[in-house]
């Protein structure tokens, strides 16, 4: 140590690199007298660091890392569970929607059938009324036609009788009527 101090007193024009005095007292690394001190304090230091690490630091950090891994796993599981439930809810919703739609369809069909039935019934009734009216009218028309025909033969007899009388022939009324009827009969 004292040697080292001595060699460090250097004159101004000297350029001295202490390393150049290799293996000499210039290199403190090779100063054996400081070895016990360094080794002692190194062992103390390593002992303290090992104690602190193995007793406090490493178990704590290991626990924190494990806890974090656990938390992440749990969160992922929870998210998976929630997703599962969301999917279930979606299925239920879809099912409800489909049910409602089929129910609506059923109601529509039912109503349609109901209306159709009502319509048919009304239609039938109307048809029956129309038929009744038609028959009635037919009867009236027939009556009118009969009356008309009877009137025609009457008028024809009267006219024939008058014509015969006008020609001055004394014709038997009954014969004239028969002749007119015969003629009408031919036509009819």
């Amino acid at each position: 140590m004292e040697d080292a101090v001595a060699t460090e007193i250097i004159t101004a024009d000297e350029v001295v690199v202490h390393g150049a005095e290799a293996a000499g007292p210039g290199m403190p690394q090779l100063d054996v007298s400081s070895f016990p001190n360094q080794i002692f304090w190194l062992l103390v230091t390593l002992g303290v660091i090992y104690f602190v690490l193995s007793r406090f630091a490493l178990p704590r950090i290991g626990a924190v890392l494990a806890e974090r891994a656990g938390t992440i796993t749990n969160d992922i599981a929870a998210a998976e569970e929630l997703r599962h439930r969301a999917r279930e809810a979606e299925t239920a919703y879809d099912k409800a929607l489909a049910d409602a739609r089929s129910e609506a369809n059923r109601i529509v069909a039912e109503t349609k059938a109901q209306i159709q039935a009502d319509l048919d019934a009304e239609m039938e009734k109307a048809d029956a009324q129309i038929a009744a009216k038609t028959a009635e009218s037919q009867k009236a028309i027939d009556e009118i036609r009969d009356n008309a025909a009877r009137n025609v033969s009457e008028v024809a007899r009267d006219v024939a009788r008058e014509i015969v009388a006008a020609f001055g022939a004394d014709a038997d009324a009954k014969k004239v009527d028969a002749a007119v009827d015969a003629k009408l009969g031919e036509r009819a």
């Binding site: 101004a12 350029v15 007298s33 001190n37 080794i39 660091i49 602190v52 193995s54």
Partner: protein, 260 residues
């Protein structure tokens, strides 16, 4: 401690007043209290004690105080602590397998000590504890002895299978075994010198360039060079901590699974 270093550096400048390099002054082990040059015995409180204590405080600050909240959603410091934890944990698990996780606290201790020592050493006027071969050699020898003893305890004599290549041609096996044994015993040497050497080289280089700043014409260049090397040293500090740790893991793997 910092003011002492300043005083020493200033003292040299006054004495020399010219182009003087003291790249190794920063590595001197000095008593924290009392006169410079006092004898340093094994229990003396020195700058080594101070800077090692600082690294302990940093470890406590990051990994204990930083995680005080035990929050599921971490604060910034807690995420940094978790990052370091996860980084080393994954390294141990990837290299040594599940069986190696029992030794994770030890490897974490090594990594954090080296990491914080390296980075604290990059503070201006700091003392870099990991730049001393005495420190890195103890670390490397500790790993070497621990791993070797563990290998024999776990595998018995089968641990020697580490040196006996079963898939090599028979006549090559003894030669390979000799080479493997030599390389096995060289491990702690390279393991320790790699770390200390990298740090010493970088810190000394910064000091050398700082010495050039005394020449006015060179001083801008000197500042640029110091900046560049400092940037490099920031990388080296992290990388050397990583390298030391992953080599420890690889040696541990050899002890746990000696068959190639």
């Amino acid at each position: 401690m910092a003011t002492e270093t300043v005083a020493v550096v200033d003292g040299h400048a006054e004495e020399a007043g010219g182009l003087v390099f003291h790249p190794f002054d920063q590595f001197e082990v000095k008593p924290l209290f009392g006169e410079i040059g006092d004898p340093v015995s094994w229990y003396t409180i020195t700058n080594v004690t101070f800077w090692m204590a600082l690294s302990v405080l940093c470890v406590i600050g990051l990994l204990v105080l930083g995680t005080r909240g035990r929050a599921v959603i971490p604060s910034r410091i807690q995420s940094a602590a978790e990052l370091v934890y996860g980084f080393v944990y994954k390294m141990v698990e990837d290299v040594t397998g599940k069986e190696g996780l029992k030794y994770f606290p030890w490897i974490m201790t090594l990594f954090l000590f080296i990491l914080f020592s390296n980075y604290l050493g990059l503070l201006p006027m700091a003392f870099t504890t990991t730049s001393h071969i005495a420190v890195t050699a103890v670390l490397a020898l500790g790993v070497f002895l621990g791993v070797t003893i563990l290998g024999f305890v776990k595998n018995g004599m089968a641990f020697l299978g580490l040196f006996w290549m079963k898939d090599a041609p028979l006549f090559l096996r003894p030669i390979i075994a000799i080479i493997e044994v030599i390389s096995y015993f060289v491990r702690p040497v390279s393991h320790s010198i790699r770390l200390a050497g990298n740090l010493v080289a970088g810190h000394a280089m910064i000091k050398v360039f700082a010495g050039f700043a005394a020449i006015a014409a060179l001083s801008p260049l000197s500042v640029l060079a110091i900046t560049a090397i400092y940037g490099l040293e920031v990388l080296v500090a992290g990388i050397q901590a990583y390298v030391f740790t992953i080599l420890t893991c690889i040696y541990l793997k050899d002890a746990l699974h000696p068959s190639h």
